[in-house]
């Protein structure tokens, strides 16, 4: 029988697969369903190695699944360095894996791409929870909005969230993430004042006024967007962890596995070890069980479970061990994970000799935390600050979420790792702020913004389980006066 890792029966999701399409993978015909990414379609038929490292030629597998690492660079129809995890399958395309660095085609060999200049009141970069909410809010305030996202599907990481959201009803509490994604995407796509470009990468901010956007589909375009304000809600990426063979295919970001199983309906493996018992690790482990993957264990180096008790309890009920004061030592296998070795650690987090245990797994999922995706901000020259509580570097901003570059705002995980609920709220605050500053926001907008700010800071974030994030957000927030000083110093009064 042919290998097929697709999930056909799932307790939460009905996978709506599109029509059949065929493409070529290194000469072989692969059958896939419209809506799948090239990588997901290949993973479903058992492909695990997607590229080889530059120097040592080590095999590399999928890691992030959302276009934020470089584990899946491939040649598509002659164009190298395509991230096939966000490349939609299309009839007849030719996909080849790359070994190390690809040869970049010469200018004469590629078709020129048309440059199109457009103007808008607001450009939103990133269509996840913060970006969708920001676009809708600004458009409702009367602004013309352009929204760009690197994926071909809107919703950001909402699309793979199958658990019901916490928080209160006003911010989608009780609904499942993918349901919220559907609802918001539909509204955004139907809104007369919002133009959406999917499969589009904002590659840079130039001359302090325009943003270059590489549109890949349906027709390649170089879109140059002149916007009065920009909200960059670029999300986050998963952190890696150092251990022997951490690059072996099968070692994956927990979010990567979540994308495979919940967005594409492809089972990431048979038996998993999850490293890190924060909320992401706990939630993904539970979702692995729902997708029919056996979870051998969760290991957590700290003496306590990092995530919320309710998520841990849900997992323990089905017999999944959560081993605190444990970590991974190495992954074992040829071309793919065949086993993993874990160990107990002492008070100084050093492995205790003799406590190693080998687990028979084909998946090692890393969930030790996320880091804000600040590439857009660093290219633009925004002042960033290293804030461990927020996962790493993040732009400093005012309480209205404006960064050190005037009229560029930050919202969602890019502003420091929190949750979907806070991302919705930040997206709305950023959009209201842009509207107010540019003269669109009414008196109601000002009132609404104050209400949101006080809910966020004086209610939601006061929960002791999110106190670390709150402390981080405080460190990242400066007053308007401080920001003026910073702007004056850094940019000579720009």
């Amino acid at each position: 029988m042919e290998i097929d890792y697709r999930i056909y029966e799932h307790p939460i999701i009905r996978f709506k697969r599109g029509r059949r399409v065929r493409f070529y993978f290194e000469g072989r015909v692969v059958e896939a369903y419209e809506g799948e990414s090239v990588l997901a379609a290949l993973y479903a038929i058992g492909v695990r190695v997607f590229t080889w490292s530059k120097k040592l030629g080590r095999p590399r597998g999928a890691f992030c699944m959302i276009g934020k690492c470089s584990s899946c660079f491939a040649v598509v129809d002659g164009v190298p360095n395509r991230r096939i995890c966000i490349e939609p399958v299309r009839e007849g395309i030719r996909v080849e894996r790359q070994r190390g660095l690809a040869e970049i085609p010469r200018v004469e060999d590629v078709e020129p791409v048309e440059t199109v200049n457009i103007e808008t009141d607001l450009l939103v970069v990133g269509g996840g929870p913060a970006g969708l909410k920001a676009a809708l809010t600004a458009a409702d305030q009367g602004m013309d909005v352009v929204l760009v996202d690197s994926h071909y599907r809107l919703g950001g990481q909402l699309v793979k969230q199958t658990h019901k959201f916490f928080g209160s009803k006003e911010y989608f509490g009780g609904k499942r993430g993918f349901q919220v994604a559907e609802e918001l995407s539909k509204k955004v796509l139907e809104h007369p004042r919002i133009r959406v470009y999917r499969s589009s990468e904002a590659y840079g901010f130039f001359d302090n006024k325009v943003v270059g956007v590489a549109v890949k589909y349906p027709k390649p375009l170089n879109l140059v967007v002149k916007a009065d304000a920009v909200i960059a809600s670029t999300g986050a990426m998963e952190k890696g962890l150092l251990f022997e063979n951490n690059d072996l295919p099968g070692v994956m970001g927990a979010g990567g596995a979540q994308t495979l199983m919940n967005e594409y309906g492809v089972r990431p493996g048979d038996k998993a070890l999850v490293v890190g018992a924060g909320n992401v690790g706990l939630i993904v482990a539970y979702q692995l069980l729902q997708a029919g993957v056996k979870v051998e264990a969760l290991v957590e180096i700290m003496p306590r479970i990092g995530g919320w008790f309710v998520h841990a309890a849900k997992l323990r009920r089905y017999g999944v061990p959560i081993l605190t004061r444990h970590t991974i030592v190495k992954a074992i296998g040829e071309n793919r994970v065949e086993a993993a070795v874990i160990t107990r650690v002492d008070e100084n987090y050093r492995p205790i000799g003799g406590s190693e245990k080998k687990l028979d797994v084909d998946l090692v999922l890393i969930s030790i935390g996320l880091t804000p995706d600040t590439r857009f901000f660093s290219q633009a020259g925004a002042v960033l600050k290293w804030i461990p509580e927020l996962g790493g570097f993040t732009p400093i901003r005012t309480r209205y979420l404006e960064t050190s570059i005037e009229n560029i705002y930050v919202a969602g995980d890019a502003s420091g790792i929190e949750e979907a609920t806070t991302a919705f709220i930040e997206g709305e605050i950023a959009a209201l702020s842009a509207a107010i500053k540019l003269g669109y926001g009414s008196k109601e907008a000002v009132e609404r913004r104050e209400k949101l700010l006080s809910y966020l800071w004086d209610e939601y974030r006061l929960s002791p389980v999110v106190s670390r994030a709150r402390a981080g957000k405080l460190k990242a927030t400066v007053s308007e006066e401080e920001m003026m000083l910073i702007r004056g110093k850094k940019f000579g009064g720009v």
Binding site: P11, F166, G167, F309, A313, R316, Y318, S463
Partner: protein, 161 residues
């Protein structure tokens, strides 16, 4: 070790946190138990209860249940995103009790099926009969018959394919 180390809460811990109804109330009829001991930012259950039996002083408060208002209908069990609400019925004569719990695995549980009874740490405590099933937004709300001594132990079920 406490629940933050193990992911398993003990009845004693629930009692200390004021999350357990009294023995008298338990004997009277079905009643909800919220195994939600941390101050997480969530108040879904407050809105979900049609009888206004659950309250919270702030968005991140621990759910407080008015055991006299709660009739054990199980509506909140389906809504709770933490899958942390359970209805326990110790009021019936004989050696059986009834536990209503959330379930989100395939295949779907059906009435009169015999399913495995799971403890908070995943041990199989025996088998029990499903007496009622309904679902809301793909969470099954399942009532199972359990031996009375396990009423405070059974918190999950497993349906064999």
């Amino acid at each position: 070790m406490g629940f933050r180390e193990t992911g398993v809460i003990k009845v004693g811990e629930l009692e200390r946190l004021g999350l357990m109804p009294s023995r008298e109330r338990l004997k009277k009829g079905p009643v909800v138990i919220a195994e939600c001991p941390e101050e997480i930012p969530c108040n879904i259950c407050v809105d979900a209860c049609p009888f206004k039996a659950i309250s919270m002083d702030k968005i991140y408060g621990i759910p407080r249940i008015d055991w006299d208002k709660c009739i054990g209908c199980g509506v909140c069990v389906a809504y709770c995103p933490g899958l942390a609400l359970f209805v326990v019925d110790l009021s019936k004569y004989g050696d059986k009790a009834y536990v209503t719990l959330p379930h989100e695995f395939y295949p779907p549980p059906r009435k009169n099926m015999t399913v495995k009874l799971l403890s908070r740490d995943g041990r199989v405590l025996g088998a029990g009969r499903v007496v009622k099933v309904w679902s809301y937004n793909n969470t099954w709300v399942v009532t199972v018959e359990v031996p009375k001594e396990y009423a405070m132990e059974v918190r999950g079920i497993w349906v064999e394919e």
